[in-house]
Subunit: 594 residues, 2 copies
């Protein structure tokens, strides 16, 4: 065994991380900032002025925009230079995804193309497949689509009915079936299609070109939002696919689909972050401008509380997003140093952090829904009007809790991924939860509360993890293999774990930031961490209590409830004043500024 | 002083009500049910088949539908028979509003017409005005609009700039100004317009006919939802209004506007209830039908939890809506028995319950947003598609938190109304909160917990009110007149009070229901009350804690926090199983059934 240098997936739950060991977005290099600015310039110049045209699906516009992004290299940021990409690392690719996430219809088209459609080929393609497709996908000459979902197979993706048989000539596969909800379908040139060969139990993956025969499209699906993004059914009728277009091995399809989604979820979180920051900027601009009762509505406490909270939620997910991205980056480096190919390292590292990615998919999509909802509310009547930006933001946001795995599925995956790691002895969950159970019996430490900066918060975050271990340990022991049918409990546990990860990350980030900038320059960030953790304590308490009340009894229940109370005990915070502090900074800057 | 027979507004906070003293929707008379069925038949026959046409604003369609509703008498349910209305009481009018609320674009047009546009004339009109306008408004020959909001005057409605001067002939007023966001503007014949005469500080109200000169309309406002409802700016340029069309006294306008909104808010709650029930029916139908992983998704615990919670939230607001409506009804009866005119009695009784109406406006609009949000989520990808009903429901719902006073304004009004009653010695808030403060010093009663039905819940609800009194009393004492600037605290207090009212109402309803039907026939309703109160305890705890932490300190804070803990202490509930019980009933009935 080699000595492990970098954090592994799920370890946040059982280990303490040092601020120096995480990456924070305030540390991006000049080169990374330059790429970010390129993305931003492109968006402001090419996309922002055309939001209505995009959503009205102006003929050829999205294709043109993707083409322009391709020319600037923005479609190939994660593609190796060898295939005419930009060859950038995970963090840079996340940063560009964040910026490209600003305007959602375009963002979804971009992500479907550069993410889930291109990556299967990058990760699993043969050298020939890669040389053939990646340069054209990177340049935007080809547009991509990812075709997994079917009318009868959504969350249960492996139940796809699309079927492939080998042609008599043995040179082609013949594909029959239909795919639904396919982003970019209307104009894509290359489709990654998942279907079963013969009567296989498992899916296989295929690279299908639009020019192959037997492909037809349904009408554009009318949708609540991201109206500029193309979504259609695709019908395959005796579609002939050259055998060399099988992607990966026969039966590998579901694994490919899922591994690509590990990346997709984290990228979704980054895109959502970008969208959210833009919403906050619009919100504060409007709140500063709009006068009622003789003052800007940004002056009202009720409005400050909302704006403060919008920032807190984005700040927390942002902290975790870049921590996770950099942990993956480090893992890749490590795996490659140990001799693994870059592609395999990517797959492995992303899988390693699958739980964190699922947490972030859920947390970010729900944070954005909160941010847009309050955005609408702060705009008042104008929030409901299509002539102001909130109305679109509200509709666009809602998709994120549905695709890339619904949030219910992702919540269950969080627990599932972690439990699997525990079973494989990759994560000492059992030992850790036994230690917590033992601690429950001990006399609590009623030592004086140290009020110096973050002492309380550090203790709390450590305790949050104990709460997570306590509830999940007890539930696992009680239900064993049947835990899967107790979904309500799983959801609760998943939310507790998410709060652990976010609290941990936001705290580490601010500690790191203070090291870099000094405490005096981080007042608002400190406040954000404090409020987030203060509220997280109550959320965890509630989730834990509900879960325990629903399966434990008698003395055992009482003891565990006491434990949870102890682990979420907070000495109190004036969250009103903290939110005002954050809002006041926003008001001053008149834009999102954290 | 006469002996008071019926509950007064705000009393729920300081008095115990008996189940026999409230009205529950299970007690509607046969005649009321018949009217309900008439509304339902009309909707299913005339409106439901045309939802797309309505939202596409098919020329003349909304006018035609309102006309048909008028022919059936549905526009005049609350108008006295003398003016060719149906002369029904408050409860019946609420019930019909609930049903008419099912399809939101139509519902909003209906409510704007039959509610806020017609009522000012009914309540404040002279005999001549009433005879002239009410019959035509009741029959639908005239359509009405309510014109208060202006570009610069939304929440701050009294800051309207629209101005009226007396014409030289002294026979006309001349109106100049513009109104914004006016529902039904596109086709209304009669406008209730609020504007200031000369340099008055206060608004006056006018009945303006479309045929008067100088009225022009802006374009239809493109909106997030309720797209079939007409919303335009209205411009008045030297619009001549006969002097006899002044409504009420000069300077009475703001009072008229506000009193009409007291009714409007409660009606909004009823309409939202109707919309919500329809959403639940669609949700369960879909969840029973949609199969993933080999079973109907309604079988999954995660989905049951959502559906159970959808029902719980609607059940709670429904309990409070009809309790409030009947309390108003009783008040009207009492006032009329004491010699007041029916119209004055209506105004007074509705004002008496202004706090409850504001609570219900907020609680119902937020319940509906929850219900539609989970509806979308349960539909998965189909929830995002305009081809299934959830997408529209989601967009339509969002307006309810904005109009009839934003939810921020209404939250503040709740506290304001109650405090004013206290100052006027109409409500013994001060005495009650002093009693609570005293109780804090006493040794808590650690008696055995009685687990028989609702003993715990009754104690809890009584305690919730103490929590409300504790926090509001302490805040009032601390900030005195400056409490208004501590909006975050006001919002928290308002939410606690709302939870008191809803908990009280849902519990009383189920107790009453058990009296009528027997415990064995109310299993799901019992579960709904239990879960609502269990969760309310935690919400109240959180709201109270946040408020107290933001203004109290030291020993006083510690003592109050202990008090809050005591007042929200719950012995525990398996809310998972309770929600499953509720959901299982839904699954069986395949429609909303409570
Ligand atoms: C705009 C849009 C773009 C899309 N783009 C693509 C694309 O490019 N490529 C692609 O392949 N797909 C795409 N999808 C499909 C998307 O991934 C699916 O909609 C999603 O996976 C959910 O599947 P479903 O819609 O069939 O919902 P269902 O799976 O039917 O889910 C319905 C509800 O049941 C719940 N549920 C399902 N199973 C369980 C369970 N076991 N336990 C608990 N709850 C459960 C879900 O959480 C949800 O609440 C897109 C969808 C949309 C709307
Ligand atoms: C579809 C639609 C239909 C409508 N129909 C009608 C109609 O028929 N007739 C009519 O007269 N009006 C109508 N309205 C107007 C509606 O009543 C107003 O939009 C609403 O009162 C809010 O006013 P506003 O939009 O100006 O928001 P603003 O008052 O500008 O409010 C913006 C934000 O500031 C907050 N805010 C404002 N003041 C304060 C304060 N003092 N403290 C704390 N927060 C504050 C609000 O809560 C909100 O979050 C309609 C509006 C819409 C969108």
């Amino acid at each position: 065994m080699t000595t492990k240098k970098y954090p592994k997936g799920g370890e946040f739950l059982v280990k303490e991380t040092k601020p120096q060991d995480i990456f924070i977005p305030e540390e991006f290099s000049e080169e990374q900032i330059m790429i970010k600015e390129t993305c931003r310039d492109f968006l402001e110049k090419e996309v922002a002025p055309l939001l209505d045209e995009i959503d009205n699906k102006k003929d050829g516009l999205m294709v043109e925009l993707l083409g322009k992004a391709g020319e600037l290299g923005l479609l190939g940021i994660a593609i190796p230079e060898k295939y005419e990409g930009f060859g950038q690392d995970m963090n840079t690719s996340m940063l560009s995804t964040e910026i490209m996430g600003t305007y959602s219809s375009f963002a979804v088209a971009f992500a479907a193309h550069a993410g889930i459609s291109t990556l299967p080929i990058l990760y699993y393609g043969t050298e020939t497949q890669k040389s053939k497709y990646l340069p054209k996908l990177a340049s935007g000459e080809y547009k991509g689509a990812y075709c997994l979902t079917e009318p009868g197979a959504g969350s249960d993706a492996s139940s796809c009915k699309s079927k492939v048989i080998l042609d008599k000539d043995s040179k082609h596969y013949i594909l029959n079936g239909q795919k639904m909800w396919i982003t970019n379908a209307g104009f894509a040139d290359v489709f990654t299609v998942f279907a079963k060969i013969d009567d296989d139990k498992n899916l296989s993956a295929f690279i299908v070109e639009k020019t192959f025969n037997g492909i037809s499209l349904g009408l554009e699906e009318p949708k609540m939002g991201i109206k500029g993004s193309s979504t259609c059914m695709i019908f395959f009728e005796d579609c002939k696919i050259p055998v060399e277009n099988l992607l990966g091995e026969r039966g590998d399809g579901f694994r490919i689909a899922l591994n690509v989604l590990n990346n997709g979820r984290l990228k979704l979180a980054a895109a959502v972050l970008g969208a959210g920051k833009n919403v906050i900027t619009n919100t504060i601009t409007y709140a500063n401008e709009r006068v009622q009762f003789g003052k800007s509505i940004s002056n009202f406490g009720a409005i400050k509380a909302k704006m403060g909270q919008q920032c807190i939620r984005l700040f927390a997910i942002e902290s975790a997003i870049y921590r996770c991205s950099n942990d993956i980056h480090n893992n890749i480096t490590e795996l490659m140093a140990a001799g693994m190919s870059k592609e395999d390292a990517l797959i492995h590292a992303q899988k390693e952090f699958a739980a964190e990615s699922a947490i972030l998919k859920v947390a970010s999509s729900e944070a954005l829904d909160y941010v847009v909802d309050e955005g609408v509310q702060i705009y008042g009547g104008m929030g409901y009007s299509s002539e102001a930006p909130m109305e679109r933001a509200y509709r666009d946001s809602r998709i994120n809790r549905i695709f890339e795995g619904t949030n219910e599925i992702n919540r269950m995956l969080v627990v599932d991924f972690l439990m699997k790691k525990a079973f494989k002895n990759e994560l000492p969950l059992l030992v850790a939860s036994q230690a917590v159970a033992k601690e429950l019996m001990s006399i609590p430490d009623f030592g004086e509360i140290d009020e110096s900066l973050f002492v309380r918060e550090n203790k709390l975050v450590a305790n949050f993890k104990k709460a997570a271990l306590l509830v999940s340990g007890a539930a696992a022991q009680k239900f064993m293999q049947k835990l899967g049918t107790e979904q309500e409990i799983l959801m609760g546990i998943s939310d507790i774990i998410a709060d652990c990860y976010l609290s941990d990350s936001v705290l580490l980030r601010v500690e790191r930031l203070i090291e870099l900038k000094g405490e005096g320059n981080c007042k608002e960030q400190i406040a954000m961490a404090e409020v987030f953790i203060y509220d997280a304590a109550d959320r965890i308490h509630k989730n834990a209590k509900d879960a325990l009340n629903s399966f434990a009894e008698g003395d055992e229940l009482r003891m565990m409830l006491l434990g949870i109370k102890r682990f979420t005990k907070h000495s109190g915070l004036n969250s009103k004043d903290k939110r005002r502090l954050i809002a006041d900074k926003l008001i001053e800057e008149n834009k999102h500024c954290f």
